[in-house]
Each structure stands twice: as C-alpha cells, then as structure tokens.
C-alpha cells in the first residue's frame, strides 16, 4: 500500500512545483500541456471505472465530456458567470443524462451495448450541432467563470484541475475497494453468478454509469475553461475513441490506467506531431504493440493485480 502511493506522491509534488518552474524558464506552453493531460486523465479515469472495473464497454463517453463543456459555454453565454452555479449545473446535467442513457443502454449486452452507447452519443452530437444560436458546427466561446475567491487564470486553472484530479482519484480509490466497488468488479467477472447470489446487476451498473458520466462532465467543464471554447469535436465519436484508446493504453481496470494512458497518448501525439504529418500512424503502431504485448496496458507492466 505505502509503496503503491510513493510514486504518485512524488509525482504530485512535481506537479505542484511545475508551473512556477516552467513559467520562470519560459516554458509556459508545458504548463498548458500538463493541464490538458490532467483533464484527459480525469475523463479517461471515469471511463476506466465503467469499462475497466464495470466491464461496460461504452463507446459514447464523449457525450458526457462534451455536454460538460457545452453546459459551461451555454451558461456563460446566457449571462451566468458564477462557477458556483455553473459547476453543479454541469455535473448534475451530465449525471441525469447518464442516468437516462444508462437506463436504456444497460438493458443490452456486448456489441449491442457498444453500438447503442455510440448511437446516443451521435444523437447528442447532432442535436448540439443543430443549435445555430450556440455556434452549430463552429462551436461556442466559453468565458471562464468567476469563483469569487480567486481569479481563474492559466495558473489557478492548473491548480484547480490538479485538485479536482487528486480528489477524484482518491474518491475512486475508495470506491473500487468499497462494498460497491467489489460488487461492480464481481459483476464484470461473472454476471450470472453475481445475480444468482442476490445482487441486482442492473442497479449497480447504472449507478457506476452515472458516476462515470458525472466525472466525465466535470472533465469536460475543465476542458471548456482550459480552451475557453466548447467544440463539437469534444462530443464526436472520435473523442469517445480517443478516451477508449487512453484506457486501453494505460490499462483496462488498472487504477492508474486512465492517468497513464492519457499522459502517454497525449505526450506521444505531441512529439509525433512535431516530427511528421503522419503522426496518427505512429500512435496506431504504439497502440497495436501495447495490445499485442501488454494486454493489461502500461499499468499492467508495473502492477500484477488490479488494486
């Protein structure tokens, strides 16, 4: 246990001192990159909760990510400036949306579940794009909200994201080791047996789906603050695929899978984009190698059993 938290603690320390160091050495760009990585780490971890721990292969996770961002953008557009209103509203909307989508999708299994989650996400994508007053396909500018306690500039946003990420990961660590987490993993392991010993499968999966949707919404919210813009791309199926790639790369059902996957994928993309316009080929190759030689992802190389 202690050893497991040694590296993350060291990393946290590094992340805490990173902005002042980067800013004083003229590397502000990297503060932004790390911020973006942390946002995706949050989103990928939420997907990992249902995909990895719950065995629910949702191909529509971008819906919640994007709606989180759009809620923030639309509310500021409509004159709401307080983060204390925007944040809870966005999270609640994403949770309700996940409740609705999950309630329907979780009646299906396997490939059908993958397809129906994708279908819902696509529906939401086209609905949002059809709202011309909210930018349509051009997306919508999203001014940063006011917290009152502090000005939300690039540096405070960085620390805010870090705080949210750490808080959420801690809660997730508690969750996966709780009664609920144990049942969720048991359902992934053997659904019929879990039902036969008295667990209402559907309820457990739905609750997990809602939690994941809300956390993804939170990540989308931070994304809108980060880019000051809500793009339809955040809702697109490619985004769902992107998040899924992060989870697979990092380690499905491994606690640090989402964080590792987001970090490695975004850094690799960043590097390859500098080198070649065919960077996607490189990303594809790396993913292929991971799937073939490390089916439990990067995290699986470090930890043998999921914690």
């Amino acid at each position: 246990m202690q050893r497991n938290w040694l590296i993350p603690s060291a990393l946290l320390g590094l992340l805490l001192v990173f902005p002042p160091i980067a800013n004083s050495t003229g590397l502000e760009f990297y503060t932004g990159l790390v911020n973006k990585i942390m946002i995706f780490a949050l989103a990928a971890s939420s997907l990992n909760l249902i995909l990895g721990y719950g065995g629910m292969v949702s191909f529509g996770h971008a819906a919640f990510f994007g709606i989180g961002a759009y809620t923030s953008a639309i509310l500021t557009r409509e004159g709401v400036t307080s983060a204390w209103v925007i944040w809870p509203t966005a999270i609640v909307i994403c949770a309700l949306l996940a409740l609705l989508i999950g309630a329907i999708c979780l009646r299906t299994r396997g490939v059908y579940f993958i397809m129906i989650t994708l279908a819902f996400a696509q529906m939401i994508y086209f609905v949002v794009v059809s709202f011309k007053q909210y930018g349509g396909e051009d997306g919508l500018r999203a001014r940063r909200p006011e917290f009152g306690l502090f000005e939300l500039d690039d540096t405070t946003l960085y620390y805010l994201t870090l705080a949210v990420l750490v808080g959420t990961l801690y809660a997730m660590a508690r969750l996966v080791n709780s009664r609920f987490g144990r049942v969720l993993q048991a359902i992934r392991e053997n659904e019929t047996r879990a039902a036969a010993i008295g667990y209402p499968i559907y309820h457990y999966q739905l609750v997990a789906f809602v939690i994941a949707g809300a956390v993804a919404g939170l990540a989308g919210l931070l994304m809108a603050h980060y880019t000051q813009y809500a793009s339809p791309n955040l809702l697109a199926w490619q985004q769902s695929g992107h998040l899924m790639m992060m989870v697979i790369l990092g380690g499905v059902g491994q606690f640090w899978g989402g964080v590792l996957g987001a970090t490695v994928l975004l850094v690799v993309e960043e590097i390859l984009q500098d080198i070649t316009i065919y960077w996607q080929l490189g990303v594809g190759l790396i993913l292929l190698l991971i799937v073939l030689f490390a089916p439990k992802g990067i995290a699986g190389l470090f930890w043998r059993r999921p914690q």
Partner: protein
C-alpha cells in the same frame, strides 16, 4: 407444509415447450430429487424457479409468496439459492473472496462507496465458516481456476449456501465427478442440513432445516439422498413419490430408467 409449488408451469422456446404444464410440490425439509432423461427440461425448470428465465405460463409459489414475476435477487433474499450445472464461479478470485461476495449480498446494503470492504471482518469470518463446512479451509486462498473439478463443485454448493437459503436448487452437483468425488458430495449434501442448523442456530432460529431440490443423473446418489423423487419427461412430471414407489413405477422405467432390465446409470 409445502415450501415450493409449481402450478401449470410452462416455458416455450418458439414451438418447443421445454417445460410443459409442470405441477410440482416440494415439502419443507425434504430432499426432493428431480430426475429425467437428457433434454427433459430439468435445467429450464431450475432457471425458472431461480428467476433466470421467465415462464411463459403458470405460477411459482415459494414460502407463501407468488414469486413468478420477481427478479432473481429478490428470490435470493426470500431464501431461494441455486447452483449451476456448468461450473459458474468467480474464476480469478480465491475461495474466500467468492464466499465473501455471497455473504456480503445478504449482509446490509452494498451501495456503500467509501469504507474498504476488507475491514469488515464479519464477512470474512462467515466465509471462513462456510469454507470449513465444505472442507476447503486449507484451500481458502487458492484461486478458483487452480482448484480441482471436485473442489470447484463444492464451492458451487458453498456459494449457494452462503446465501443462507431456505431452499437450495442443486443442478447436477455431481456432474463430471469421479466416484470418489461423488461420494464426498453425497456426504456433503447429507451433512449440510445438520451442520448448517447448528452453525446458524443462533442467528437464524426460524430456519431449522434446509430444503433441497436436487437435479441429478447419478442414480446411486439420488436414491441415497432423496426423501422423494419426481420424474420429468418432455417437460412434464409423470410421477412423483417415495423412492421405492418411483423405483417400482412401470412408466418411469419405460421413460427413464430404461427398458433394458432397469440398468442404473
């Protein structure tokens, strides 16, 4: 007093009636064996009683409740637990982890998100007791996939027992077993009720004897264990009664035990 009653129970798969107008009464406290040739609908019947399948027609009454339309988890809560013909366990978990999950299911809500479940010592203690009852204590920390076939079968029964049922549905608990393992299973089943009623004597006094519905092909085991036997043929109960009566019943001989001189399988 009857614990389980099936009334005109029918399950249709397309044009095929796997269970056809089945009437059956199981008394509290008995070991009731259900026998019948392959494809007679025995597992389909178990699936309907346990709630894994919905009947096309008919009713299932259990312990004073009409459970025909109840979801599976509520039937378990009422005291109806099952095992599977094809071994169906949490394969990458240890014996204790398997049992703890089943114990947890009936010990308070599992919609708890914060406290680590491994600190709940009472779950582990109960799991250890059940493992002891099964005679698997020395294997407590072995992962299911590494257990022998016989041990996995025992854990099948153990997981159902961990639900503290009033009634156990055992779907071919000896399937694929050698004679020695079968012998152990017969002993386990016949010892179960006694040891269980002493083990849970303080916590569940109103549930003294365990009723068992046993689906089994091993006729030796059936005639040694059963207090009553029913014979299912083409989804229909053609005979029901004491073992001697079933053994002597000419219809049963014709349909199941075989015309070739009553050869016992």
């Amino acid at each position: 007093m009857s614990l389980l009653t099936l009334v005109h129970l029918t399950k249709q798969f397309g044009g095929l009636a796997a269970v056809n107008d089945c009437n059956l009464t199981i008394e509290a406290g008995e070991i009731h064996a259900l026998i019948g040739p392959n494809g007679a609908g025995k597992t389909t019947l178990i699936n309907q009683i346990s709630g894994a399948l919905r009947p096309t027609r008919g009713q299932i009454l259990f312990d004073g409740h009409n459970i025909t339309h109840l979801p599976q988890h509520q039937r378990v809560r009422l005291g109806l637990a099952r095992t599977f013909q094809i071994i169906n366990l949490f394969k990458s978990y240890t014996i204790l982890e398997n049992l703890e999950l089943a114990v947890q299911a009936r010990n308070g809500s599992s919609f708890r998100f914060w406290n680590p479940v491994r600190y709940e010592a009472h779950l582990r203690e109960e799991a250890e007791q059940i493992s002891e009852l099964l005679g698997l204590t020395s294997r407590n920390h072995t992962v299911v996939a590494e257990l022998s076939h016989g041990e996995q079968r025992q854990l099948e029964v153990g997981l159902a027992l961990a639900c503290k049922p009033k009634m156990l549905l055992l779907d071919e608990p000896m399937a694929g077993m050698g004679p020695e393992e079968s012998e152990q299973m017969v002993e386990l089943i016949s010892n179960l009720r006694r040891s269980l009623s002493t083990a849970s004597g303080n916590s569940a006094p109103k549930n003294p004897t365990l009723t068992i519905l046993l689906v089994e092909h091993d006729m030796d085991a059936v005639f040694r264990l059963a207090s009553r036997i029913s014979v299912l043929v083409y989804g229909h109960v053609i005979a029901s009664g004491l073992p001697e009566a079933i053994r002597a019943n000419p219809d049963v001989h014709k349909a199941y035990l075989g015309d070739e001189g009553g050869r016992q399988r």
